[in-house]
């Protein structure tokens, strides 16, 4: 603990503050807010009621107006602090509101109606987490089916991505053939082609192959990634050629060299690509939306779209389900983070 504290308060200026210390702290704290702010906001907002979401100015924490049961009224009534003419404040419950005048009662003496100008009162609020945002979609939203579809697409696409990208990378890194660098340039060059450009031809291909409305139609077009080929190739270049020569002397076939020597040694780079692939496929929205038109095939991201209607967006459900869909990605990063940094460092890729 003492070490951590000493580390955190270590300053370039020694005992005094050097200006770079100040800049560093401001920069780091600013960065923390920029990076974490939206995520924290998202999580907190996912617990707000629709009314709290619509409130202006927005609050950070999810607040609700405190309510009380009053004799003679069927529903609980909201509580307000009312400033009276003589300067005292009392807590009253609102019965109804007409224009700028609210009719209120004292919960202890529910007989008499008090008329109050709404400018003279403030709601009594408490922090409350609207967990129904999470529980209700599980009941009337086919969450488990969408989750299964998403998991299937992500796992399959990642497995196929790793396999074919590493095969291409192996050939480009370890075999010498004519046109080798040209092929690499063409592969990396496809990074410049955005999805929007190839969407229509891709759609007609998927359709012609009969993969429309099939999860494989979502998987196949995404598995060959130039980023993956490049990342793995750069890493495989660092595997010494002598190892491959040794394997050849050891009677290993080219497939065995790939499968038993190169793949295990490229594990850190494969882990990086796996993480990227999982995140990409999990977060895919546009392509699955195009290919899948039956709701039992929807992935989570597409399924979430049902809460965004033309006239009415159910933000509280969208926010809550967004948090749920983020969890796997966050877990992947938490547990595989060291592979990412090591893989990126060793493959010289950003």
């Amino acid at each position: 603990m003492g070490n951590v504290l000493a580390f955190l308060t270590r300053r370039r200026g020694g005992d005094r503050w050097h200006w770079t210390d100040v800049v560093t702290w401001v920069w780091l704290i600013g960065g923390l807010l920029v990076m974490f702010g939206p995520a924290v906001w998202l999580v907190l907002s996912s617990f707000k009621t629709p009314a709290a979401l619509a409130e202006f100015p927005p609050t950070l924490m999810p607040y609700v107006i405190e309510e009380v049961s009053v004799a003679g009224y069927d529903h609980p009534l909201p509580l307000y602090e009312v400033r009276q003419a003589d300067g005292r404040t009392v807590v009253l419950a609102e019965v109804r509101r007409i224009g700028i005048i609210a009719q209120m009662v004292d919960p202890k003496a529910p007989g008499a109606i008090v008329k109050v100008n709404i400018a003279d009162r403030a709601p009594v609020e408490k922090v409350s987490f609207a967990t129904s945002n999470y529980t209700e979609p599980f009941v009337h939203f086919d969450f488990l089916r969408f989750l299964w579809n998403s998991v299937f697409v992500t796992v399959m696409a990642t497995a196929v991505t790793l396999l074919i990208n590493s095969m291409a990378a192996f050939a480009l890194a370890k075999y010498k053939f004519r046109g080798q660098s040209l092929i690499l340039i063409v592969i990396v060059g496809t990074l410049m082609v955005p999805l929007g450009v190839i969407m229509v031809p891709l759609y007609s291909m998927i359709s012609a192959l009969g993969l429309f409305n099939s999860l494989w139609g979502v998987i196949w077009p995404t598995v060959a990634t130039p980023t993956g080929v490049f990342l793995l190739r750069q890493y495989m270049l660092t595997i010494p050629d002598e190892l491959i020569d040794a394997a050849r002397m050891d009677k290993a076939s080219e497939w065995q060299i790939y499968w038993r020597i190169v793949l295990p040694l490229a594990a850190p780079a494969l882990a990086v690509l796996a993480i990227f692939s999982v995140v990409w496929r999990w977060n895919d929205f546009l392509w699955p939306l195009i290919v899948l038109s039956q709701s039992q095939l929807y992935t989570l991201q597409v399924g979430l779209n049902v809460y965004a209607g033309q006239l009415n967006v159910q933000w509280h459900y969208i926010l809550a389900m967004t948090v749920v869909t983020m969890i796997p990605v966050v877990l992947v990063f938490v547990f595989l983070q060291r592979f990412i940094t090591r893989g990126i460092a060793t493959s010289g890729l950003k």
Binding site: P240, E242, M249, D250, K251, L265
Partner: protein, 359 residues
């Protein structure tokens, strides 16, 4: 049985020729060392024999069978690489077994061979470890073990000791030599270190710029180098070369003038003519201090290296030639001192201007 024959082997990468017309005949059970300065093509030559590379032209035969198009794995050879090339993700045992598994050998036989190699190389204690957990010398043994378990017809070793520290290198050298005596298998060994070549080889092949300069036993090369390059490369410190000219060529002797004196070699010099300029080679070990009244070349001492058992002196003659001498024992010599050095005429080597041996 494994007799390896190379006939006119050439290798070029594009227009750049690396090997030129290599002819070589390696007998069964020989320990042949390819030696030469770096970039001379010795490792390339080894890769051609191993089958990891194909020669541009020429034939390679193993036991008379043409193997030019036989893949590396089917030539029955085993190779030890400079970096050892152990599979880092496999344990020592798996490293040894990998080649045997690929050959679909029964499990029991694999275990037997590994146990035998482990006993021979004393690596039994760390069969379960990964190469990363071993020291350099241990890795070296595993790399040799991986070659041994395959029971190859010949071993190819590509600078196997160059990554070890000096002390370990000397002990591994002795072990390799003992291993060869025990296995009696052909070994082809590549090194740039002429001392390794001298101590290990039954025959040395000296290479330079992709050509064979001389093939012979270590002492052949030391005593009768075929040209100036071999003479300078073999032996440490390297041979002194001074300018001289042929005075007279006789049937039994050749007299040469050098460093202001004339000496008579007790050998004929074939092809030499009187008046010809020659390069005269003299090993530092063959030079001694001239005793009182004895003839000798006067020199000025430029540097003295006292090594205890011997004293190396760097000196300059009156004619400006540099001479290095290795004197046995300890001598109280100082820089700048004038001494006289003597040598036996029999120890001189004569080379013509093209570098070829005359006598």
């Amino acid at each position: 049985m494994s007799r390896i024959t190379l006939e006119k082997v050439c290798k070029s990468y594009g227009a750049h020729g690396v090997l030129h017309d290599i002819d070589l005949d390696i007998e069964d059970g020989e320990f042949v060392v390819f030696v030469g300065p770096s970039g001379c093509g010795k490792s390339t030559l080894l890769r051609q024999i191993a089958g990891l590379d194909r020669p541009t032209s020429g034939d390679i035969r193993i036991d008379g069978k043409l193997v030019n198009s036989v893949p590396a794995a089917d030539r029955g050879l085993a190779m030890v690489f400079q970096s050892y090339a152990l599979y880092p993700h496999m344990s020592v045992r798996q490293n040894l077994a990998f080649g045997l598994e690929n050959a679909r050998m029964p499990r029991a036989e694999i275990d037997k061979r590994i146990a035998e190699a482990a006993r021979m190389l004393e690596i039994g204690d760390y069969l379960g470890r990964r190469p990363g957990q071993l020291s350099g010398g241990q890795r070296q043994r595993v790399a040799i073990g991986r070659a041994i378990v395959r029971n190859p017809t010949a071993f190819l070793l590509d600078e196997p000791l160059s990554n070890l520290d000096a002390e370990l290198r000397i002990s591994m050298r002795a072990e390799l030599s003992a291993l060869h005596d025990r296995l009696k298998t052909t070994m082809i060994y590549v090194t740039h270190d002429q001392i390794e070549a001298m101590t290990l080889a039954s025959r040395i092949v000296v290479l330079r710029k992709g050509r064979v300069e001389q093939v012979g036993t270590p002492l052949d090369l030391y005593n009768r180098p075929a040209n100036r390059f071999v003479a300078g490369f073999i032996g440490a410190p390297s041979m002194n070369f001074v300018k001289g000219s042929v005075v007279e060529v006789g049937e039994a002797a050749t007299s040469v003038s050098l460093m202001g004196t004339t000496v008579a070699l007790p050998r004929p010099a074939a092809g030499a003519v009187a008046g010809q300029t020659v390069s005269v080679g003299l090993r530092p070990q063959h030079i001694s201090l001239a005793g009182d009244g004895e003839a000798g070349v006067p020199v000025e001492v430029a540097l003295v290296e006292a090594l205890g058992s011997e004293t190396v002196i760097h000196s300059r003659t009156a004619t400006g030639e540099r001479l290095q001498a290795v004197l046995a024992g300890q001598h109280a010599l100082r820089t700048g001192e004038n001494v006289r050095l003597s040598f036996a005429p029999d120890d001189l080597h004569l080379f013509d201007e093209g570098g070829l041996r005359l006598a």
